[in-house]
């Protein structure tokens, strides 16, 4: 899944790179990509944010329109992913825009506060929390700017397209203390979106079919059904990303445990009624675990209603981003505060109600109302018997550093009180770095979960992902099973068969992420795997013969016992050379007429026999044993294909078995050899 995401994201990025003007078809196109790949929403959102952050200022606006189009036409889950970072995405772009574009952005923001036009949904595009913070920041900026300009102060700030450096622009700016409402060319009413053209993708199943796309989780009453739904959606995403990481690292037992713990949590959420406070706590925890670390002040639901002291107030986390509106305001300073807010945000998890604690509470029936929901889509939380785990020795933690809230490693470290670690440089990573909490196991479901979640995260401090070790030469799965033979070995007993070992499934899937779309065969993501896949795809192409039925294909006789014992399966993804070498070796003893070579894949197919200078077209035949098209009566000698009969005669006549190079014999004709005759179409098989 992670690699599929990466592929989709790469495509999306490529398409984004070309977007330099406000082009309606291009934006629609990108929207469609996003719409058709909602399962990769996280990767796409990340790509989009990244692009908006890094592209040149004059290209930011079209990209923002893509964002706008996606959230309005597709809605969830993009609103969730993009909403999380929207403040930063928006403000970073806003800071470097020229006034005209800023006005366009103001218009954009305005539409985000409203429901999607022509939709039945009354919720705004983004939740008020998201937009309010941006608005507050904008008001402050405007106030400051107006003040500055009123005082004719010129504060250098080092941002190139700063409007103040442009008298015309600042004049215009001064004249519009409040943003124009829909006046600019790019404002929302004229923007290039065709909202009603996109049917609503009902990705999470919680919306009725007719509901318009922009379902934004509204966290206002702390516990509403929609809150629960959004929580579930977040959890689902977290599971997806964790699973992605885990599939990339199938050998990572700890990650598998974490995944299982999260899935258990999902089951609990789905099957039991959970009191509001615990929901809040779970939500906080999930957000803390969710990648990537954003300045999520606006995303955390207000928790004023909950008496739980351990829940971090988002407002506490937020303040540094809004500087006082007094004079001497420095945009750069604002930027600095807005950009890496992670480092300054206080940790929300004072060792409090941890996820595992929560789970324990939830799954112990005496403590709370654990009424199973009637139509629970999932079975009750499965009981995981203690699986023998490797007890990893925790490496000593390096010097403790400031802990960002959203780093899983930090969280986990705090839970274990085993010291903290600097965060890996996550912003560029589309998903959670795979911190493997290699916890030891303990009996009981909740204890197991607890352990799974609190394992030792120090490996993350190196920033080296565990999956960076596979070699290209040996199949990863085998190597993996060799490395982790002890924990992964499955005892061959009746009882052992019943133990869930979901982490092993990655050896069937994640270990070979490169899937053939036609037949589902998987290949490794190594150079060798890619070569194999290329040959495999070539083979697919070759066997797709539209004329096959016309030529009267029939069932062949089975081979005899002896032939069967000597027969070796031909893997279509195996290197061709091995095949033809083997085929040549086998057939050499036979009648020359029976010898064959596989039809070369390239232009060499047009090369004639160097001896008689006739082409091989008439010798083309489907060869059952080889399962490929071959040239009959052909032999491959030192890389050149001859008619087997020609070669037979030649080598007999010459009295030498095989010259080191046949070229001298044919020297004068060499110009003819290997030069495809122009005008002759190369036939594709």
């Amino acid at each position: 899944m992670s690699n599929a995401s990466a592929e989709v994201a790469a495509d999306f990025r490529d398409a984004l790179q070309d977007l330099k003007i406000n082009s309606r078809p291009e934006i629609s196109n990108l929207t469609i990509i996003a719409k058709e790949n909602t399962e990769h929403a996280q990767a796409i959102s990340h790509e989009l944010e990244n692009h908006i952050r890094t592209t040149r200022p004059e290209w930011k606006l079209p990209a923002l329109y893509v964002l706008d189009s996606i959230v309005k036409n597709v809605g969830t889950p993009y609103t969730v992913f993009l909403g999380r970072n929207l403040y930063r995405t928006f403000m970073d772009a806003y800071m470097v825009m020229d006034p005209a574009n800023r006005r366009a952005m103001d218009g954009l923001l305005k539409t985000w506060k409203q429901p999607v036009p022509e939709s039945m949904d009354t919720n705004p595009v983004f939740s008020p929390e998201v937009t309010r913070d941006i608005e507050n920041a904008l008001i402050k900026i405007r106030t400051v700017t107006v003040q500055q300009q009123a005082m004719a102060q010129r504060t250098p700030h080092g941002l190139p397209p700063r409007p103040a450096s442009n008298p015309m622009a600042s004049g215009a700016w001064r004249n519009t203390p409040t943003p124009p409402q829909g006046g600019p060319r790019h404002a929302a009413p004229n923007d290039p979106r065709v909202r009603h053209n996109f049917p609503t993708p009902n990705n999470y199943g919680q919306l009725p079919v007719a509901t318009p796309p922009s379902q934004v989780p509204t966290p206002q009453p702390p516990v509403t059904s929609i809150d629960l739904e959004s929580l579930k959606a977040d959890l689902a995403k977290l599971i997806a990303s964790t699973r992605g990481a885990w599939e990339a690292t199938p050998t990572d037992l700890a990650l598998a445990q974490k995944l299982k713990a999260l899935m258990d949590l999902q089951t609990v959420l789905n099957t039991q009624t959970i009191p509001p406070q615990q929901l809040q706590a779970i939500r906080t925890q999930i957000q803390a675990l969710s990648p990537p670390p954003p300045p999520v002040q606006t995303y955390v639901p207000p928790i004023a209603t909950t008496p739980q002291p351990f829940i971090p107030s988002p407002q506490q986390a937020a303040p540094p981003s809004l500087p006082p509106a007094s004079g001497g305001f420095n945009l750069a300073q604002l930027l600095a505060q807005a950009r890496p807010p992670v480092a300054q945000t206080p940790t929300p998890t004072q060792p409090t109600l941890s996820l595992a604690d929560l789970l324990r509470r939830v799954s112990s029936p005496g403590q709370m109302s654990s009424t199973p929901v009637a139509a629970a889509p999932f079975p009750p939380p499965p009981h995981f018997p203690p699986v023998p785990q490797p007890v990893a020795t925790p490496t000593p933690a390096p010097a403790p550093t400031l802990t960002p809230t959203t780093n899983l490693a930090q969280l986990l470290a705090q839970m274990t009180k085993s010291g903290s670690a600097p965060p890996p440089q996550v912003p560029q990573l589309p998903q959670l770095p795979t911190q493997p909490p290699a916890g030891s196991s303990a009996p009981g479901a909740t204890d197991w979960l607890l352990n799974a979640l609190k394992g030792v995260p120090q490996m993350a401090t190196t920033g080296v992902l565990p999956q960076s070790t596979p070699t290209a030469s040996t199949p990863m799965t085998r190597q993996a099973s060799g490395m982790t033979a002890v924990p992964n070995s499955v005892e061959l007993t009746t009882a052992s068969m019943k133990q869930p070992r979901f982490h092993l499934i990655a050896r069937l899937y994640g270990a070979k992420p490169n899937i053939c779309a036609t037949c589902g065969r998987r290949f490794e993501n190594s150079a060798e795997g890619k070569e194999k896949k290329a040959r495999h795809m070539d083979w697919h192409f070759r066997v797709k013969d539209p004329d096959a039925t016309k030529r009267g294909i029939h069932r062949s006789w089975y081979i005899s016992e002896k032939e069967w014992i000597e027969y070796r399966e031909v893997d279509e993804s195996a290197p061709d050379t091995a095949n033809s070498a083997k085929a040549a070796a086998v057939t050499l003893k036979k009648d020359p007429k029976e010898q064959y070579v596989h039809v070369p894949a390239d232009a060499a197919r047009d090369a004639p026999c160097p001896i008689c200078l006739e082409k091989f077209d008439s010798n083309l035949k489907w060869h059952t044993d080889a399962n490929d098209f071959v040239w009959m009566d052909a032999v491959n000698v030192n890389g050149k294909v001859y008619h087997a009969t020609c070669w037979d005669e030649y080598s007999k006549g010459a009295g030498i078995p095989a010259p080191s190079t046949p070229d001298p014999v044919l020297g004068k004709r060499k110009a003819d050899i290997g030069t495809p005759v122009s005008g002759k179409k190369v036939r594709a098989y």
Partner: protein, 481 residues
């Protein structure tokens, strides 16, 4: 199709076209992780399934994301480890989503085998040799397919041995076959296809076949010698073929041998002893040291208990007897379905499976004297004096009247003849032990003109080999309609 000599197949080709055009609208089916979508499709309808998102597998073989698979006359299940969304078209007789599956235990079984294969690679020994037993409709073939598919995903090359004559593997019913598998299995066609004269969208498999000609291994005295023969061939292949040797083999068996008589499982014993030719010498002249070392028992507690008592604690060559739960998706297949299934397999042998890859068999007119048909002797069909396989020499020696030579008669019309690799002049044991070259179908016997019209899979002369006629599978009256 019309150009086929002697055959009017216009009706046959028009039929599938009608069926495929009936269903155009599709519906979406979302599956949570670790659940499966079970369906039954009749032979007259087509169900199409396409993977929209996520991952899904059909008996262990992963669905390609861009391929629409169509199923006909199938009872199967699409399982997902990670959750998926399917696009389903057409009509199923029954369909539902099951949350409780046995896939985890089957996957565990696979990974347990993988551990043994890794060890076998390191020590260059034979990989796990698996025997799957269980009552009828307990999912034996499904388990074998899943284990095979998973082994293929690991780039192994398992040899699969089908000892269940009721369902052909890469062949027609009534046959016993073995084949090494590489690449991938076909989703739609079960085990895939034996070689054809043209390109195949899925790599063809190369089966070795013997003709049994009866439906139940408990009847007649052919089963054990054929198992012996098959074991020799498979063990020889394993000796020679490193890739298969390290992967080992998986044996699928008919349910009837698992019923037992008073706790004695004659045929299981025979299979185990024959596929452990510790003292036999194989065709290539090497001493065989390979034996069945794992038995998976599906479902039946009693069978498990009996077998583990017998094999689990042997001092030499202990066999791991492991019980696996029967999947809740196993459905009873009634005789009507099985008959249809068999006729379908025979049809597919001659005509191919789908509309795009229709095969073109040929019909020949031959003199009655050209066919030398050996019919399983009636007397041998029930022979209570037959003794278990511990005295194999008797079996070989005492089989003078395995077959009776018969002339084609109109009563044999529409039946299937196995073309053996033996000559009609060979002794009957040789004919019995000869592998099968293919099958021909008696279209018509004109006793007055002394002519027969037969359907042969490929053009050319009818091989002058011995032909074997069994009572199973039954006649297929409408093969050409």
């Amino acid at each position: 199709m019309a150009s086929l000599p002697g055959l009017n197949l216009a009706a046959a080709s028009a039929e599938p076209a009608n069926l495929t055009s009936t269903s155009t609208e599709t519906r979406q089916q979302d599956l949570a992780a670790n659940t499966e979508y079970r369906f039954e499709v009749s032979f007259s309808r087509t169900l199409t399934i396409r993977l929209r998102t996520g991952t899904a597998e059909f008996f262990g073989t992963e669905l390609g994301p861009s391929t629409t698979y169509s199923f006909k006359g199938t009872k199967g299940a699409i399982y997902t480890w990670h959750g998926c969304s399917l696009e389903i078209g057409g009509e199923a007789e029954s369909e539902y989503v099951a949350e409780e599956t046995t896939m985890m235990s089957y996957a565990n079984a696979h990974f347990a085998l993988e551990d043994l294969r890794d060890k076998a690679m390191q020590s260059n020994e034979a990989g796990p040799r698996v025997l799957v037993v269980g009552p009828d409709n307990s999912g034996k073939t499904s388990l074998v397919r899943i284990l095979t598919s998973y082994a293929l995903k690991m780039e192994r090359q398992p040899v699969v041995v089908n000892l269940d004559p009721r369902e052909g593997m890469l062949s027609v019913p009534g046959s016993l076959t073995a084949s090494a598998f590489s690449g991938i299995l076909d989703v739609e066609e079960g085990w895939g296809s034996s070689p054809i004269s043209g390109p195949s969208p899925i790599p063809v498999k190369m089966p070795l076949g013997y003709h049994y000609g009866l439906g139940n291994p408990e009847e007649g005295k052919l089963y054990k010698p054929l198992v012996t023969r098959m074991a020799l061939a498979v063990l020889s292949r394993l000796e020679e073929d490193k890739a298969s040797k390290h992967t080992g083999f998986i044996i699928d068996t008919p349910g009837s041998i698992s019923h037992g008589k008073g706790g004695v499982y004659e045929n299981i014993d025979h299979i185990v002893s024959e596929f452990s030719g510790t003292c036999g010498v194989c065709f290539v002249g090497k001493l065989l040291t390979i034996s069945v070392n794992i038995i998976f028992v599906l479902g039946s507690e009693r069978l498990y208990s009996d077998l583990s008592r017998k094999y689990g604690h042997r001092s030499e060559d202990p066999i791991s007897v492991v019980r696996l739960d029967k999947s809740g998706g196993c459905v009873d297949r009634d005789e009507a379905y099985m008959k249809h299934f068999r006729q379908n397999q025979i049809h597919n042998y001659f005509f191919g499976t789908d509309a795009e890859n229709t095969l073109a068999p040929y019909s020949l007119v031959a003199d009655i004297g050209d066919l030398t048909i050996f019919r399983l002797a009636e007397s041998s069909a029930v022979d209570p004096s037959f003794r278990p396989g511990d005295d194999d020499d008797d079996v070989y020696a005492a089989s003078k009247n395995i077959y009776e030579k018969v002339n084609p008669s109109s009563a044999m019309q529409n039946s299937l003849l196995a073309v053996t690799t033996a000559s009609p002049k060979d002794p009957q044991e040789v004919i019995r032990d000869a592998s099968v070259q293919g099958y021909i179908y008696l279209i018509e016997v004109d006793e007055t003109k002394k002519k027969v019209r037969v359907l042969v899979p490929q053009p050319g002369q009818l091989p002058p080999n011995a032909l074997v006629l069994g009572s199973f599978p039954e006649v297929v009256p409408d093969l050409l309609n």
